[in-house]
Symmetry: C2
Subunit: 348 residues, 2 copies
Amino acid sequence: MADMLIPMRTIDWDYTNNTIIMIDQTLLPREKRVIECRTIDSLCEAIKSLRVRGAPALGAAGGFGVALAAHISNATTLAGITHELETAGKTISATRPTAVNLSWGVNRVIGVIEEAKNTREARMFALDEARLIADEDVAKNRQLGEHGEKLLEDGDTVMTHCNAGKMACVDRGTALGVIRSAVEHGKDIKVISCETRPLNQGSRITAWELMEDKIPVTLITDSMSGHVMRKGMVDKVIVGADRITQDAVFNKIGTYTHSVIAKEHGIPFYVAAPVSTFDFEQFEEDIEIELRSPDELRFFGNYQIAPLEVDVYNPAFDATPMENVSALITENGVYYPPFLLDEVKIKS
Amino acid sequence: MADMLIPMRTIDWDYTNNTIIMIDQTLLPREKRVIECRTIDSLCEAIKSLRVRGAPALGAAGGFGVALAAHISNATTLAGITHELETAGKTISATRPTAVNLSWGVNRVIGVIEEAKNTREARMFALDEARLIADEDVAKNRQLGEHGEKLLEDGDTVMTHCNAGKMACVDRGTALGVIRSAVEHGKDIKVISCETRPLNQGSRITAWELMEDKIPVTLITDSMSGHVMRKGMVDKVIVGADRITQDAVFNKIGTYTHSVIAKEHGIPFYVAAPVSTFDFEQFEEDIEIELRSPDELRFFGNYQIAPLEVDVYNPAFDATPMENVSALITENGVYYPPFLLDEVKIKS
């Protein structure tokens, strides 16, 4: 792992050295360092340590991981290389077993090996497929951004929560992708970023991303959303989503609170997410919300901010009922209430 | 300043050593240390460093400061001791010039010296008056608590924001005073404490206070208030107030957001504050909200959590319009909408 120039994407393949390169998100915003993974072990360490995170970015990480395993394999037979890739794939997928996209990326790349006639083709096909996963992610976010940017007007101030940006994807992002597209269309857009407790993805990552792109951003605490909306400082809210069921949007804890405040003040509340986020079969009541460590609220780094033994309730996500959502922005288009998810499904 | 046992009150007079003793709030919750101020300099340092904070507690600090100046004075004439107390009073008041209660406490104690016939009486009267300020504060909070506790039912879970507790007053507190009274009446009350960004008074002080009193408390991030109210986990909300105008309650930033969420879910939203908090002459538009340092959102202690140059909006307070308030709890009784502040005024 060596210091390098910032690449365009969150995670990418370096054709010069045939390695995986990524921005180390754990160092943001204090340091912008690109790290290089030359082995499956170093990739697994990067995933476990959240140096790369976000569902779409992890899909690409899984794909590139199998491509890396193919590149460094010494196998001389197709059966040999296939066996090595399957072993590497299992190791990679096991780093974050609940991250569906990670194993999806791994399996998609392993799947193309079947068509290879020799080990050289296996290496080539694996890398091509991994690149395709990354490219498709960028293309989808770009389409989503183009659809969504039509909802923004020149001069708008957009509030967002958590990081639904480039650093959660391969590039551009979902909520931030919409903002990037609007800016590319010449619109003057300002962003208010909620810091997003307890892990501060809003202050650490979203604020950093937007400053890198020279898009004006102002940081607030999550609790200020009511105050800024009441003061007329927000024109639209755009957030991402972790899962969208028939009746609710699951996203970073705090999203629901913002949706109620937006409704109170008649401010549009938009959710930007690729079709892969939609869970067409399930309802809110079917989904269990992950409870995270109490220490996330007891410490900041090593700094103690609450009694060590205090009880903590720390759900990772909340559910925003569809009636609080003004529009769903996807790569297939923008959907308005009443949301008939079958329409999204058929088109996808 | 030496380690001692925890006294009952936030700030008090130690008759054994004739010094001011207080809980050092800057060390909470990591360490519960009582410090002793033997000189005006050490008291001023404690006030400046926020070792003691909160409007009512500062009133007592000002009063005890003048009593301390009287105690350590070597003056042999009434004119001499009066001059010394006035000098000490100015020094104390200057430590936090915008804290109205501080100079109010100073001046109230200096005022009683006029009735003294000699320096011995001056010392005695000063200390008696300082004690009276502290006792009155405790008595007011106790009355307020007794009125307010009638609003709580056995088994209630009460959400609160920031610290409107013992550590902001001499003892008991306003919002937390209501909860303490309900518990003393045998009611089983649980508390949900919002951590209260950016300075975390909810996690550092409120959670600690309640744990000291063995009142069950669960810590959440501010953004979770929507989620916990939607899930039916909150029966009532009680907050304190920094200033109450004809049309709005000014309190710690985030209070307004919670009030909207409470209204959305039909949950009573109570404000507990002594009559001295009411500003009968002014309206929301007359009040300028203090903007605090951007670094409060860029750093946690020394730990950087946002880009160094990021723009930050950091108002200390927000305004909750009266229509979001279900009742005002004061030492004179409980007031319901429509709030006719003249009624509070006449009774006070």
